[in-house]
Symmetry: C3
Subunit: 276 residues, 3 copies
């Protein structure tokens, strides 16, 4: 039973997602189709990469991942199948493939040959489904298209180093709770910090500890009624091993979240100053 | 493995969709349940028909489609199973069935006999699941209810013709990107146009070409920094072979989409004037 | 094929839900994963209980229900598996388990022993998936953790009785249509009413009948154009056998729903006065 995942900016109201699923099941009744996200900000390649990267590594090898963001073939963006880390990704060469791994270790890079690539305004349905079915059925990639040498590359976000004592990180994603995920990895931070004390500045918040969990600031020795309520920002190494600025029990629908309280969003910076 | 699809206005927060899925799996563990949409505008039959029509033809024959919009049985809206084009549709006779095909070619029309039809406030759960299971198990439709002769019909949107040189189309759906889908089919347009030049007027936009793809206005001979950005409306024959007014790379969450920039929405008209 | 359901406040945009599904399928390819809801109001235990309670009873026995709301293990909230009514629930002991049944009839109560419970900021992925897989594979619960004697209890909403002639009910949920679901069960109401006449007061609405269906106020003897349109509140025993204050064909996106027109929401009261 082949797993085919879908990562798109189609939303879930329109007919598009169901059309794609129906077509897959029409051709491969045993397919196990899993939604990664259909709520990608329209046309947002970097966000697509963040979400898909964080999700796909949990799936079994040989999973097939269809990318329905900026999927139209243009003269600059060809339709590709890229095999990375034992997984198959199908999409347009709009930069997304270069963002899918910390270090790109591409096993196969194939330009899809499909009669509808040129003219389709809905290539996920008209082209990618066919390609996914072929891969699921075991068709060799060389029968799906021609090997090519390189992909369009985008420069990834990574922290800037200003001297030996300062890092500038960037907010790369704001999650459902309004928490701010940065591009500073745990590994990189630990090595750079080398056990020095530090101050992480995120807007008005000055943070001196990075915790493993969201409840780190709760003082359980106090009775519940006396405990500090939600509202104080903390930093943690999150489940992706990235530094995240979070507020415990925040609810962005009700106002009080890291993004709203600190006034920070995607593209904004945080600074980490280390003791000399 | 039977495919059962769900098209509802239930939303995805409440318990309703999961209750229905649980009940189906309780009775038919092998069912493959696919969401078409749960974000239909509450009680909106025409929107339901548009979304389901655009999706269902992609599914294999013998798929069973449950329609959870205006599903309560009333004295005027009986519960029906309708077989169209090798697919089964289960819903209340609120007009939806008449909107499901360009030309209605109904193979079977059955009024459901179910003890809970009369009193249930949640007939998708109490009635339609049972009927879907029966169909999936191969029960003949005549054992599910009685054949009837006709359904409640709604007049479909179609373009108005004013003389030999003018068409008035209607916007029937605004999609996730804010693009405007009209009721002018490619086939009808080509025949009416008969290769004449034309001007399509959609609010302030005057359009003289209908393209096959969204990126048609991008001039790839220019360097990226010099290319015209998003913002200019174009028309295309979309993947449903309907004329669509779109803006390349529009994001309605950020303001600039066809619906917001042109000030047009469902029910508004566009005019196509042809050269004499 | 084991059924594993997910009830979370993760939303559907982020990578979290897909990460969990991928991990489940990696370890148990035959799992049938069903979304109950991912739109729970962040951190809202009572809402989680309402939605999950209303959904889970429809699923077959032996279904495994993962609860991804307030799931971090804290010194006060241990990770548990609770077997209720033939179903398995996996979550943190934050009060949720005490809200899952009218009368708690717990068959098994196990504190999970898992090396990642202590430190994980994403225990649904790091802990609950492993536990769900073990249960699905038939591992006895005593091998998953240690039996414990009690769970953290929350007091459930139930109507207040003021004398023999008055009930005060509470609104416990506002659904997709803006309808108001109260904590007054049909069984309790019938017994208390004992066939007496009554007036249910919900803000400005005075209601004297509780119907079985939403269309109860429509007068089908009138031509459609003359019928009273949406706008008048009615009460019904809904599909959960709870009193619900509803407006026929309401659409909260367009303004006119029970919650907006009556100005009532979760936590507000309704009063039922009975004739002496």
């Amino acid at each position: 039973m082949s797993i085919i995942t879908l990562t798109t900016d189609f939303g879930t109201k329109d007919y598009s997602v169901a059309a794609v699923k129906g077509r897959i099941l029409n051709d491969l009744p045993s397919a196990n189709i899993i939604d990664v996200s259909h709520e990608i900000t329209p046309h947002h390649i970097v966000e697509t990469a963040f979400v898909l990267n964080a999700a796909y590594t949990n799936f079994p090898k040989n999973s097939i991942h269809i990318i329905g963001v900026e999927a139209e073939q243009t003269t600059e963006h060809k339709h590709l199948v890229v095999q990375i880390d034992g997984h198959y990704f199908i999409g347009a060469d709009n930069g997304i493939f270069s963002l899918l791994k910390k270090e790109i270790n591409i096993e196969n890079l194939i330009e899809i040959k499909h009669p509808k690539s040129i003219d389709s305004s809905f290539p996920v349905l008209d082209v990618f489904v066919d390609v996914a079915i072929e891969i699921a059925k075991g068709t060799p990639l060389e029968n799906i298209g021609n090997p090519i040498a390189s992909i369009k590359t985008w420069i990834k976000n990574k922290p800037d180093i200003s001297g030996l004592n300062e890092l500038i990180g960037h907010i790369i994603y704001v999650d459902r709770y309004g928490n701010l995920i940065t591009d500073i990895t745990k590994e990189f931070f630990k090595e750079f910090a080398n056990n020095r004390r530090f101050t992480l500045t995120a807007s008005s918040a000055k943070i001196k500890t990075i915790y493993p969990k969201y409840d780190a600031l709760v003082d359980y020795s106090q009775p519940i009624s006396q405990r500090q309520k939600a509202g104080k920002a903390l930093a943690l190494f999150n489940s992706l091993d990235l530094i995240e600025i979070a507020i415990y029990k925040s609810n962005p629908d009700k106002g009080g979240s890291a993004t709203s309280l600190l006034g920070l969003g995607v593209g904004d910076s945080v600074k980490v100053s280390f003791e000399v």
